[in-house]
């Protein structure tokens, strides 16, 4: 922890406030005082809570099962029973158009999609999938990248060379091409995958989660490894080595605590990135698979309805913008809180 303390000692004007204080508490206090970051956190929490409430909304408010096509169903608008899918008019009667927003939470608040399903309920369920995959893959990615970076940076030499070259190979692939290739291969395994006692079905959310986590490992690995290389040369690490500390102790007690702030800063930004990647893959139909939905699949479903039923695509689009914006602003706030010198550098 010596290095963390050393980092926050630098600004002379802050010194009287921080002497003897836990650096994590100081970071939390700085974050709490950052009103924009806190507003972003509140917004993100609200989105998460709303999405977690999806089953309650579907069951007790909208009274729908949003996973089942409802092409022959009906609903009520202004007291009148109307079909959810409405046949085109004119002489030709071409096409079937889902009903638009009724702005009535009990009856297709945001209208229906091309399968006659309630868009509002889908939106909340879709948010669950997008957030679970986004947060899950970012956490997995950061954990794997940190472990690999610690090994590479601490041991150096041939170990570092091999691990870094492996990361370079993964990095060399365009992100979406790599994800597309892996997903297409995995999706043909209809029986799913068996990992020891654990069975993962081909349509499980774990599949896109793991794929996205895997493709972004090098993106986190690089900065964390750089940080590890910098920390292992510090005097307090040399002092620990001189005092006979084992490699395990050195890594987990001396190096890891001094690079974890980098990972924490990266985490919300990675969540934003992985959510966007999940949305993109799902939009391309190789991410979340039916019956699950995500914001990406809803946008994809609404693609052919952009002129007549724009809310099918607009609603998840707005949710994505708000979520990613919140995470990016929060990420900036976390960085400023954990590394005030970086903020001072930026502000001159």
């Amino acid at each position: 922890m010596a290095a963390v303390a050393e980092q926050v000692e630098a600004p002379a004007d802050l010194r009287p406030e921080i002497v003897g204080r836990n650096p994590w508490a100081l970071a939390a206090r700085r974050l709490w005082r950052n009103r924009i970051a806190m507003a972003a956190l509140v917004l993100f929490v609200l989105i998460v809570v709303a999405c977690l409430a999806a089953p309650l909304y579907a069951q007790y408010v909208a009274h729908v099962n949003p996973f089942t096509p409802n092409l022959n169903g009906t609903t009520v608008i202004n007291g009148k029973v109307v079909p959810v899918m409405q046949q085109g008019g004119g002489a030709l009667k071409l096409g079937e158009t889902p009903i638009g927003p009724t702005w009535d939470p009990h009856h297709y608040f945001l209208g229906a999609d091309d399968l006659g399903r309630d868009v509002a309920a889908l939106l909340l369920y879709g948010g669950r999938s997008s957030l679970v995959i986004g947060i899950g893959s970012a956490v997995i990615c950061c954990v794997i990248a940190t472990v690999v970076a610690l090994i590479a940076g601490f041991f150096g030499g041939i170990t570092d060379s091999i691990l870094s070259r492996i990361m370079d190979v993964i990095w060399a692939f365009p992100v979406f091409l790599l994800a597309f290739s892996i997903a297409t291969e995995l999706l043909t395994h209809s029986s799913g995958f068996q990992f020891g006692p654990v069975h993962v079905s081909a349509t499980s959310l774990w599949v896109p989660t793991i794929i996205i986590a895997f493709i972004y490992v090098p993106y986190v690995y690089r900065p964390v490894r750089g940080q590890v290389l910098s920390v292992v040369r510090k005097e307090f690490v040399e002092a620990a080595i001189a005092s006979g500390a084992s490699n395990l102790r050195l890594v987990f007690s001396e190096v890891l605590p001094n690079v974890v702030s980098t990972v924490i800063v990266l985490l919300p930004l990675m969540v934003a990135t992985t959510i966007l990647t999940e949305v993109a893959l799902s939009f391309l139909t190789i991410g979340v698979q039916p019956p699950n939905v995500s914001w990406g699949t809803i946008i994809s479903d609404g693609e052919d309805l952009l002129y007549t039923r724009p809310w099918v695509s607009l609603a998840p689009g707005i949710m994505i913008v708000l979520t990613v914006l919140a995470l990016n602003v929060l990420g900036d706030g976390v960085r400023d809180a954990l590394d005030p010198r970086a903020k001072l550098r930026v502000e001159g």
Partner: protein
């Protein structure tokens, strides 16, 4: 033919041929079957070209993507075929007119349709004199030898002509058809010898694969170079990323107005790469003349096309095609006939029709043969009402059958394509399966992967219900019943095994063989047999037939003379511009 934009490397077609020569009677039967039904909807009467038709101008088609490799020996897409029929000719052709007469086989580069000799195995064609290719070369019977040899030396759907003597020894390494296709350039005759009688040979000779190319054309794949043809137009250029340009063939003179009339536009351009929504907008604005009829117009714009403003520009026609889910008969639960019938009873076909764009764009179907097709007699055992037309699902009956089959609760994988419509169809099928007690899940693959995936038996353990669609190659019941459900259409470990369900019933196959053998001598008897086979296959339920699709042609305001041919669909060269 499966409507695909990219060509499967090899699409195995017919593994077996059955005795009997082709007969005009079959066409009479077809005409009778189609008469009154009409291939066109009320919105698009198959009008004859106006007397004020004037040649000239450039006709521009917009297509989302190109048709891939252009070599006519390989290309198997409607998109290129609609252009090849204007640039090339075969020994025979489908009459180039709209409506029912368009299914009639007429002599094209041959002076007449010959009668078979040698027990139905030999045909002697007399070739027309004085016809020139677009490069000025005179057409001779020898040109056809190269044409047919290219069918085997160029990778493609060779089995259309695999009954020609010597064809079995041909491969992409070389081909010698000297005993199967004999040209006599002095007598101007071409003799075709078959190993077995083929009742459909004249239909097959009318397909673009058999269109004449000069004798000196390379036997190797020509890629995107289309060899010269004899039609009213010639290929000026083709770039799959930008456009295809057809201009008038300076050497063309009309020899048969039925087979190959002179076209109206001076130039035909097909442009590639636009979104379909943009194609529609351009045609609405008069900046182009046609949205390629294989492109699916988004639901949004269908609503726009309903406007009275576009009534004269939109033409809707019923296709002789099936959209269906094949049931994998190799593995449980659908190796059980009760289980197969159960999902047929449970399938909510009105929902599938809505996915296809509603009743104006699709008709619910239960049976294999499509309406307006030879030997078609309405039959639908899987409904609540009378057993001729589908009126609604019978879920109670379906549940009883599932219980009787002992397959309740089994996991079922529904495989389909990942485009909008494909995904919706799969999700509806998953819902239908769940409603009768299965645990269904979706498996969505890109269209180019999905079709070979479900055909190849090595993947048969990975899916239970597989989406597919089939559009007629030519109007013969065998094109559905034998190609898609015949025992000889199962090719293990091949990506080209069109019997996706792997359904094989030897007694039905015997009836198919008998129907083919009786087609010339006893056409009405053969027609009854085909009907029987259709109904037996429907009852055996190797598929869940969903619907017969309709097709939209959207043209600009200045286009006149629209004709819809059941074989080739829109006849581009018959359109004229004001």
């Amino acid at each position: 033919m499966r409507l695909v934009r990219t060509v499967p490397a090899v699409v195995a077609r017919r593994a077996a041929r059955h005795p009997l020569r082709w007969s005009g009677a079959a066409l009479v039967a077809l005409a009778l079957a189609v008469a009154g039904c009409g291939s066109n909807s009320s919105s698009s009467p198959s009008a004859a070209p106006s007397s004020t038709a004037t040649p000239g101008g450039t006709f521009t088609i917009l297509a989302n993507s190109s048709f891939g490799v252009a070599d006519p020996a390989q290309n198997y897409t409607l998109e290129e075929w609609q252009l090849l029929i204007d640039t090339h000719d075969g020994l025979t052709g489908f009459a180039k007119v709209g409506g029912v007469p368009g299914t009639k086989i007429v002599p094209d580069l041959a002076t007449s349709i010959p009668l078979a000799t040698n027990g139905g195995k030999t045909y002697v064609f007399h070739i027309r004199h004085g016809i020139k290719f677009s490069n000025g070369q005179v057409l001779t019977p020898s040109d056809f030898v190269t044409t047919f040899e290219r069918q085997f030396s160029v990778p493609g759907p060779t089995s259309f002509y695999s009954d020609i003597v010597g064809a079995s020894a041909c491969s992409t390494k070389g081909c010698n058809l000297s005993k199967g296709v004999i040209a006599n350039d002095s007598a101007y005759t071409l003799t075709i010898n078959l190993t077995a009688p083929d009742p459909e040979i004249m239909d097959q000779l009318a397909l673009p694969f058999a269109y004449a190319v000069p004798a000196d054309t390379s036997l190797k794949l020509l890629g995107n170079n289309v060899p010269p043809g004899t039609g009213p137009y010639m290929w000026k250029s083709y770039n799959p990323n930008t456009e295809a340009v057809l201009v008038r063939n300076p050497y063309f003179k009309v020899w048969s107005a039925d087979a190959q009339p002179a076209g109206y536009p001076n130039e035909i351009i097909e442009k590639y790469g636009l979104l379909v929504s943009d194609e529609v907008t351009e045609v609405m604005n008069g900046e182009a003349n046609e949205v390629f009829d294989g492109d699916q117009i988004p639901s949004d714009q269908l609503t726009q096309l309903n406007s009275a403003k576009y009534v004269g520009q939109v033409h809707v026609n019923t296709l002789t095609a099936d959209w269906y889910f094949a049931l994998n008969t190799r593995t449980p639960p659908f190796n059980n006939a009760d289980a197969r019938q159960a999902i047929n009873y449970a399938a909510n076909r009105s929902a599938y029709v809505k996915i296809a764009g509603g009743p104006s764009l699709a008709v619910p179907a239960c049976q294999i043969l499509p309406p307006n097709f030879p030997s078609y007699v309405p039959y639908c055992p899987y409904t609540t009402g009378a057993q001729t037309v589908w009126t609604g699902p019978n879920v109670d009956k379906a549940k009883q059958l599932v219980k009787a089959s002992g397959t309740a609760g089994m996991k079922v994988v529904v495989d389909g394509t990942n485009d909008q419509v494909g995904k919706a169809l799969v999700e509806q099928m998953v819902s239908d399966l769940d409603s009768i007690g299965y645990k269904a899940s979706a498996q969505l693959l890109a269209g180019t992967i999905q079709y070979p995936f479900v055909q190849n038996s090595t993947n048969s353990s990975k899916w239970n219900v597989g989406w597919s669609a089939w559009y007629q190659d030519y109007p013969a019941p065998s094109d559905f019943l034998n190609v898609l459900l015949g025992c000889n259409s199962i090719h293990p470990n091949s990506d080209a095994s069109p019997n996706i369900a792997a359904y094989c019933d030897q007694s039905t196959q015997a009836q198919i063989n008998q129907a083919e053998s009786e087609e010339a001598a006893n056409p009405s008897g053969a027609a009854k047999l085909w009907t029987q086979v259709d109904h037996e296959d429907t009852l055996a339920a190797p598929w869940v037939d969903l619907y017969n699709p309709k097709q939209i042609d959207f043209l600009s305001k200045d286009v006149h003379g629209y004709e819809w041919n059941p074989q080739w669909y829109i006849l581009i060269d018959r359109l004229w511009l004001s």
